[in-house]
């Protein structure tokens, strides 16, 4: 069992942080890599990109939004409880290079994934501007951490309840206008990554995105995570999860993410019924 040693609730309880004892994974994990977790005997295997690792404590940290039965079960786990199965580190680590000026854009729980990458890009000597966004103030996460991980942080909320009013793409446009940017990294909901990439393409800025397709094994043996990049099919679990943002077929990814939507909804509704019987 992989024990939870720390647990936090964020964004009004919709986003959960779990710091988990997994020394072998912590030893090897690099920014950008993910793990596959399974809570119990009947549970699904789901991927979560690591938000942090602590070599000394031998722990990994995942931050996830509750969107269905599996993440709801994860949320119910307390400190001292554990995940039955975790494998990792999976996927190719982020390519880290000093290129000059970098802008990192994160939306929703994508910010959690963006955090170790932003920090690493800063550590190798890039000048890092970070833009994070959420629907409203209550749903923002990791603001302090992202500030520490970058040289400049711009916070956006759709409703203007905090920071700059508007989408991250609007803040990004300003940054692209005023600075000469060598690299953009965008991690968040698929439409966000799609529109960020569309924008950076106009400015000819190389863009990396981290994709989140459905996965089962995570080791390249099933092809469930396949995505189209530059017209070619790639397995996100072994060739990704990061890809050239200008080459990804986002519409196909959004469709493929709906493959089991009906069963997922049914499962989640039944689970909530059981948890809150009337």
């Amino acid at each position: 069992m992989f024990k939870i040693v720390r647990r936090e609730e964020m964004a009004e309880g919709t986003v959960i942080l779990n710091e988990i004892e997994a020394p072998l994974i912590a030893k090897k994990a690099k920014p950008g890599q993910f793990v596959i977790l399974k809570a119990n005997e009947t549970g699904e295997r789901i991927p979560l990109t690591m938000a942090d690792t602590d070599l000394q404590k031998g722990t990994i940290t995942v931050i996830y939004m509750v969107v269905g039965k599996s993440t709801a079960i994860f949320k119910s786990l307390k400190v001292g409880d554990g995940y039955m199965d975790i494998i990792g580190p999976l996927g190719k680590p982020t390519h880290l290079e000093k290129v000059g000026n970098v802008v990192c854009v994160g939306g929703g729980t994508g910010v959690a994934v963006l955090h170790p990458i932003t920090r690493a890009l800063k550590e190798v000597g890039n000048h890092v501007t970070c833009i994070i966004g959420a629907r409203n103030k209550g749903l923002l996460i990791l603001e302090d951490q992202m500030k520490a991980a970058s040289h400049e942080l711009i916070v956006c909320t759709d409703d203007g309840s905090y920071g700059r009013k508007g989408f991250v793409t609007e803040a990004l446009k300003d940054v692209l206008e005023r600075s000469d940017i060598q690299l953009a990294v965008a991690i968040g909901p698929v439409p966000m990554m799609k529109f960020v990439s569309k924008l950076t393409k106009e400015y000819n800025v190389k863009t990396i995105v981290s994709l989140n397709p459905i996965m089962v094994d995570g080791t390249g043996m099933c092809g469930g995570c396949r995505v189209s990049v530059g017209g070619q099919t790639k397995f996100a679990c072994v060739e990704g999860p990061e890809f050239d943002g200008h080459q990804v077929d986002y519409d196909e990814l959004m469709q493929r993410l709906q493959a089991y939507a009906e069963q997922e909804k049914q499962c989640y509704a039944d689970h909530q019924c059981r948890m809150n019987p009337v």
């Binding site: 599996s70 043996m221 469930g224 493959a259």
Partner: protein, 470 residues
């Protein structure tokens, strides 16, 4: 009971009782129900106890077939299993999934004039009897050698190596990437052909012998081969399987509702999606299902689809019935259950609806030309023969290649053009000192028993190395 003197009474091959097709096509219980002890003894009496048993030559692990059959004749069922264990650690598995018709039974001397001895059914009987009624005695182990062996992969190949080497006194640890052991026995072969409880009990047998099992260990990611050597392992066996699903690379292949057989079967068998929502992993329950390919994996997929509620389950294969690679028994079971076979047909593209879900497959009729480099006649498209088949689930079962996760992250391991590990066919030695390999990662997708045969050879070679050096 000894064999009677004089002329043997002619006993017909004992039929294997099976679930009726119209019943079993909707459940996941085993299709063959197993011989009764009486039927097993009757069948055992048919064996001629040949002085030069060709059946043993036909067996990739050289089980003492006449030997174990004689014990069954005599009612000594536990002894029969012990005799099998001398050469085969997984008789409950092999008795169910080996292609006996092209191995032991295919060369059975009785089979020349009559039906061959039902060796597979007898092996299964002995193993099942032992599991249900045996006292759980373990075979003896040699004195500890102080040597440590790491086995990567807990499929049939790795399990065989582990079983052989633990009995020779070595310390053995199996590293498995999945959360459950068994490899293809657990994710690939469905419950109705090989109950998972049996696989876990076979693995448990090895654990009781002292084999250590570490699941959730992805060698090549969590730990590398060089690190295993640094940790003190003296030898490593790679039995990681083929594990890279082949796709057709035709338009529309990424529509939802199209998946590899690996994904479909892993969801159903390993993640138990056939019991959804009791188990959380979902699976597409197509009503109109097409499976592309005609190997054993395709049969498993098409039959699983029926059990998951398909009204129509079709096999679409680009060659003819003669070239079908699946076992005749599996094709027969599939046909009985209502799987439709469309031969000389190949897909050209998939058609989707406005939500990106597959609704049809466009295909072309084929005719067969000269053999290609696999030795099978090459399918040639017939111009103008396009047609569309409606479908809401397509399972692609056209083979699997070498998964590069381990092979590409390991220095010094020579691979062939297609990414399989190059290993000596007699010893399993690779180009990397102290590393052996066998099974599908060397040969490409093949069978459980061939993987076991390779494991047997490698175990012998590893033992020699640990005793006398490279």
């Amino acid at each position: 009971m000894a064999q009677p003197e004089g002329k043997k009474e002619k006993i017909a091959r004992q039929p294997m009782p099976e679930q009726a097709p119209e019943v079993r096509r909707r459940n996941f219980d085993e299709v063959p129900l197993g011989l009764s002890p009486e039927a097993a003894q009757q069948e055992a009496k048919r064996c001629l106890q040949c002085k030069k048993p060709s059946c043993m030559d036909g067996c990739p692990v050289s089980v003492d077939i006449p030997g174990f059959i004689k014990f069954i004749c005599e009612g000594e069922f536990t002894q029969a299993t012990r005799r099998i264990w001398e050469r085969n650690a997984l008789p409950a598995v092999c008795g169910r999934v080996c292609p006996q018709e092209s191995q032991c039974e295919g060369v059975c001397i009785l089979g020349k004039k009559d039906q061959p001895v039902a060796i597979g059914n007898l092996e299964r009987f002995a193993a099942d009897y032992e599991r249900k009624h045996g006292k759980g005695e373990l075979p003896p182990k040699a004195k500890p050698t102080g040597k440590k062996v790491a086995v990567v992969g807990s499929g049939p190949s790795g399990l065989t190596v582990a079983g052989d080497l633990i009995l020779k006194g070595h310390e053995v640890t199996i590293f498995e990437a999945f959360h459950r052991p068994g490899g293809v026995l657990v994710y690939g072969i469905p419950e109705f052909r090989l109950p998972k409880e049996i696989v876990f009990q076979e693995v448990n047998f090895l654990e009781r012998l002292g084999v250590k099992l570490e699941c959730n260990a992805v060698v090549g990611r969590t730990v590398s081969l060089d690190e295993l050597f640094e940790e003190g392992y003296d030898a490593i066996y790679l039995g990681v399987g083929a594990g890279l699903p082949s796709f057709l690379n035709i338009p529309g292949e990424n529509l939802t509702g199209i998946c590899s057989a690996n994904e479909y079967l892993t969801r159903s068998n390993l993640m138990k999606a056939y019991r959804f929502p009791e188990y959380d992993t979902p699976i597409i329950k197509g009503k109109n299902v097409i499976t592309l390919g005609a190997g054993n994996v395709a049969m498993d997929s098409a039959r699983t689809a029926l059990r998951l509620g398909a009204e129509v389950s079709r096999i679409v294969y680009r060659r003819s019935r003669q070239e079908v690679p699946a076992r005749a028994a599996e094709v027969h079971h599939a046909e009985q259950e209502g799987v439709e076979f469309h031969f000389l047909t190949a897909p050209t593209r998939f058609i989707g609806d406005e939500k990106g879900r597959v609704i049809g497959m466009e295909g072309l009729k084929m005719e067969l030309g000269e053999p290609d480099d696999s030795g099978r006649r090459r399918p040639i498209p017939i111009k103008g023969s396009e047609f569309v088949l409606d479908c809401d689930l397509v399972i692609i079962a056209v083979g699997a290649g070498a998964n590069p996760l381990l092979t590409q992250s390991t220095e010094g391991l020579q691979l062939n053009k297609r990414g399989y590990i190059i290993a000596d066919p007699e010893t399993g030695k690779t180009s990397k000192k102290g590393v052996w390999a066998g099974g599908d990662i060397v040969t490409g997708s093949a069978t459980v028993i061939l993987a076991m045969g390779a494991g047997r050879k490698a175990a012998d070679s590893i033992h020699k190395y640990l005793t006398w050096g490279w």
